[in-house]
């Protein structure tokens, strides 16, 4: 077909940031998938709970301590996470490096405490359906902490290489920070479910 040039794109930026970035939208789409997964797992928990004559089944409610510790750590991590995202938006490499190292620590700490949280459930996954539901719910969320933490480690390492000073990398850091917010915020309804429902 004959062509007629009617629009000139020469002056556009060479990559999109924020909502002009494809990976931003990809991250949002994956959050939608995983958010649906969390919602379904909570539904499974509530469904099984609604059928059981007593809930939890033959187990005490989970102990508050470790789970609340994890919650506080996760909530505290939002502060450096939001700062990290701002530094990345400002493309301040020095601060972003520091922020990623801080976030690596803030990601690792709740993961370690999670081990005690599993033990504080006071029930095994193969004891009964209650045990299965709480282990799967907690397990699903732990996988999210773990995968995001690995991503933070890799990004932190990447930001100390020659690839670091690139708007594209700062976009990656912002997307990573957004995903961590998602991991923290989805924890809150799960926390309410695991620790609140058995005490109702």
């Amino acid at each position: 077909m004959k062509q007629d040039v009617v629009v000139d794109l020469s002056d556009l930026p060479m990559n999109g940031s924020g909502t002009a970035s494809l990976t931003w939208w990809g991250t949002v789409a994956f959050m939608l998938i995983e958010g649906t997964g969390f919602a379904l797992m909570i539904s499974v928990y509530l469904y099984l709970g609604s059928l059981a004559p007593a809930w939890p089944i033959e187990a005490p409610p989970p102990e508050w301590g470790p789970g609340t510790g994890v919650t506080l750590l996760l909530l505290a991590s939002l502060v450096p996470n939001v700062l990290l995202s701002r530094w990345a938006a400002a493309r301040d490499l020095r601060k972003v490096r520091a922020g990623l190292l801080i976030m690596a620590v803030f990601g690792t700490a709740p993961l370690v405490l999670r081990v005690w949280e599993f033990m504080a459930l006071d029930v095994s996954w193969d004891s009964n359906a209650y045990g299965s539901a709480v282990w799967m719910l907690l397990g699903l969320h732990t996988t999210h902490i773990l995968t995001d933490l690995l991503e933070t480690y890799v990004l932190a390492a990447l930001m100390f290489t020659r690839h670091a000073d690139n708007p594209r990398r700062f976009g990656d850091v912002q997307d990573g920070a957004m995903y961590w917010n998602f991991v923290v915020l989805t924890w809150l309804p799960i926390y309410a479910c695991l620790y609140g429902i058995p005490r109702l």
């Binding site: 062509q3 990559n15 997964g37 690839h163 594209r168």
Partner: protein, 636 residues
């Protein structure tokens, strides 16, 4: 001839030939084995996806013929009961998870980037990864079947039959992991399509100018994103019950068997629309070409697809009417099941009006649309029938249901798909399929389909249960079953003729040219088959039917770089240019990632520890995938 390409060379000053040479240098997939394994071209992957899906359709068809051979006579002993169970399970599983969903997504992988006027799909490496995952999932199911380890629990794998107590051995685990493979690939493609449609449309392609097939795929992708996690949660819980002794579905320990059905059908009913909506989109995109006028009721058609998408999540319980749920709940789901007939009806009337006001040209793709009308409306009407609880209680698990869903799925999805293949084949290959053979294919498939499946309604009313291995002589079902089986052979002959035509035409068909049908949408604005870069300059869109309204001159945009893979990101609503974004080069890492994920998932059938040690190679492969390579695509 070809000028030296410098850094930051733009397309603006290049004539057509040097521009083509420059774009080929950066966009062409390298030849040879490495290129074949590393390609990220959506057209190469789309073609592979489509071809693979049709191979699984043929395999599933062979199983259908074996079932019809067994059922042709009363008290037949052609197959053993155990093999029969595997066959109907692998048939259903193949058709749903390895054919119907993937083939629709595959058409979109090929067509959506062309129809929205961009150079590659969003996340091309994820696209490559999704194909490998899908291929492995299919090989897993069929490999297991060939060594007598095929699942034998029906395509929806109800517990307790599929649970640890009754489903001994590894057959069910194969089914459940096949689900994981195909759902990962389906979700990946859904994300790619959503982002491609929202962010990579040609400048000017505002929401009201998006081709209807693209709208359909956008809605479908959102349904996939919201529905498929349910089956992944379900199959994961099933694997855990079987492998590490959880009790999700074990009533003795507080679990519940109906939980499986809720989770499965919360996915399974939207699944029907995941298959049907793309077909609807194909019809809306093909029809205007063959009646020579724009579609009637663009806005109602889009709204109908969106409302079907939403309503599809409120129907799942109608698969569970005989499980003794509360009456009020059943009434609600009866109402919603009937409500979805409204948007479906709106679409039918919009198409009828389009034909009414147009000048129909009776070419093969249009014939398939006519076949669709009759068949799908039949299936829709029996659907309204089984939406009623008392009637469903009578007909549940009978051949009436088998007839109903084949009318909906074959009539509603396969006929439009075949019409779509005839329509877009010239774009895929540069050659036309045979019009003469095509008319035979359409006629044969339409007649044989109805002869095969219509009598099943009657068999169901006579009380023949689905999935039954054989039946006694004095049931009186012998005559109709023999008729059905003979018709099935004719149906298979129709498909054989279709495959023959496709293979022959790919080599010897008449050369097609860019736009053989005189169609209006952007995929016809480039060569057939399109070059690796799709469009030498990205088209600019000024109406919903761009090629009909610009008098043979394509308005385009200039200013993109030709020394790296570059495409355009536009705004969600108005498709205003936002950024020039790069698109990745071929890479082998998606294949390694798929192989590493395969090791993890297959290992986990045998031991839960595979998830732990299997995570190591997966992590390494993903790091290799995401680590920047320092090419020009990295510049920003």
């Amino acid at each position: 001839m070809s000028a030296r390409i410098q850094d930051d060379q733009r397309d603006t000053d290049l004539a057509d030939a040097p521009l083509d040479a420059a774009l080929r240098r950066v966009w062409d997939t390298p030849r040879g084995v490495w290129g074949a394994l590393a390609t990220v071209d959506h057209k190469v992957i789309g073609r592979r996806y489509i071809a693979t899906a049709f191979v699984f359709l043929a395999f599933g068809g062979v199983l259908a013929l074996l079932m019809r051979w067994q059922l042709a006579r009363p008290e037949s002993r052609v197959l053993t009961p155990d093999l029969y169970n595997q066959i109907f399970t692998v048939h259903g599983t193949s058709m749903m998870f390895l054919f119907a969903v993937p083939v629709m997504e595959a058409m979109a992988v090929y067509l959506v980037p062309l129809m929205v006027g961009t150079r590659n799909i969003a996340f091309p490496r994820l696209n490559a990864f999704s194909y490998w995952m899908y291929l492995v999932g299919g090989i897993l199911l069929w490999g297991a079947f060939l060594v007598d380890m095929g699942p034998d629990i029906g395509w929806f794998a109800y517990v307790p039959l599929a649970g640890p107590q009754y489903g001994a051995g590894k057959r069910v685990d194969i089914w459940a992991q096949m689900i994981t493979f195909t759902e990962i690939s389906a979700l990946a493609v859904a994300v790619e399509i959503v982002v491609t449609v929202l962010k990579q449309r040609a400048p000017g392609m505002s929401l009201d100018r998006i081709p209807l097939f693209v709208w359909a795929m956008l809605v479908t992708s959102f349904i996939i994103i919201m529905a498929m996690p349910a089956v992944m949660v379900a199959s994961t819980a099933l694997i855990l019950d079987r492998l590490v002794g959880t009790h999700f579905f074990n009533p003795a320990e507080g679990g519940d068997v109906l939980l499986w059905q809720h989770l499965f059908w919360f996915f399974g009913h939207p699944e029907v629309y995941i298959i049907f909506l793309p077909a609807v989109g194909m019809i809306s995109s093909i029809l205007p070409t063959f009646v020579r006028r724009p579609i009637f009721g663009y806005l109602p058609l889009v709204l109908a697809m969106v409302s079907v998408g939403i309503l599809s999540f409120g129907l799942w319980v109608h698969h569970m009417f005989t499980t003794g749920l509360p009456r009020l709940g059943e009434s609600f789901f009866t109402a919603s099941s009937m409500a979805i007939a409204l948007p479906s009806g709106i679409q039918i009337f919009c198409w009828l009006a389009t034909i009414w006001y147009g000048r129909p040209v009776y070419r093969t793709p249009f014939l398939f649309i006519l076949a669709f009308f009759f068949t799908f409306i039949m299936g829709g009407m029996t659907g309204v029938m089984v939406a009623s609880v008392p009637l469903d209680t009578q007909l549940h698990d009978s051949y009436f249901v088998v007839a109903h869903f084949h009318y909906v799925l074959v009539g509603g999805a396969v006929f439009p798909l075949l019409g779509g293949v005839y329509y877009w084949f010239p774009k895929f290959t540069g050659r036309m399929m045979s019009e003469r053979v095509g008319k035979w294919v359409a006629g044969l498939l339409f007649a044989a389909f109805n002869f095969t499946f219509f009598p099943m309604h009657v068999l169901g009313l006579l009380g023949m249960p689905r999935r039954v291995y054989t039946y006694q002589l004095d049931m009186g079902w012998g005559g109709l079953n023999l008729f059905v089986s003979l018709s099935a052979v004719v149906l298979a002959a129709g498909f054989l003729l279709f495959f023959y035509d496709a293979v022959r035409s790919a080599r010897h068909g008449e050369p097609a040219g860019d736009n053989p049908w005189g169609a209006a949408t952007l995929e016809w604005a480039t060569a057939s088959p399109p070059p690796s870069y799709n469009f030498a300059r990205l088209p600019v869109v000024r109406s919903a039917n761009p090629l009909w309204e610009d008098d043979g001159v394509l308005p385009v945009a200039g200013g993109l770089r030709v020394d790296r893979r570059e495409l355009l990101v536009t705004t969600v609503g108005g498709a205003l240019p936002e950024a020039r974004e790069s698109s990745p080069r071929p890479t082998i890492w998606p294949l390694w990632s798929a192989l590493a994920t395969t090791a993890l998932l297959l290992g986990s059938i045998l031991t839960p520890w595979a998830v732990v040690w299997g995570a190591v190679p997966v992590t390494i492969a993903l790091i290799g995938w995401f680590w920047p390579g320092g090419r020009k695509e990295e510049e920003s």
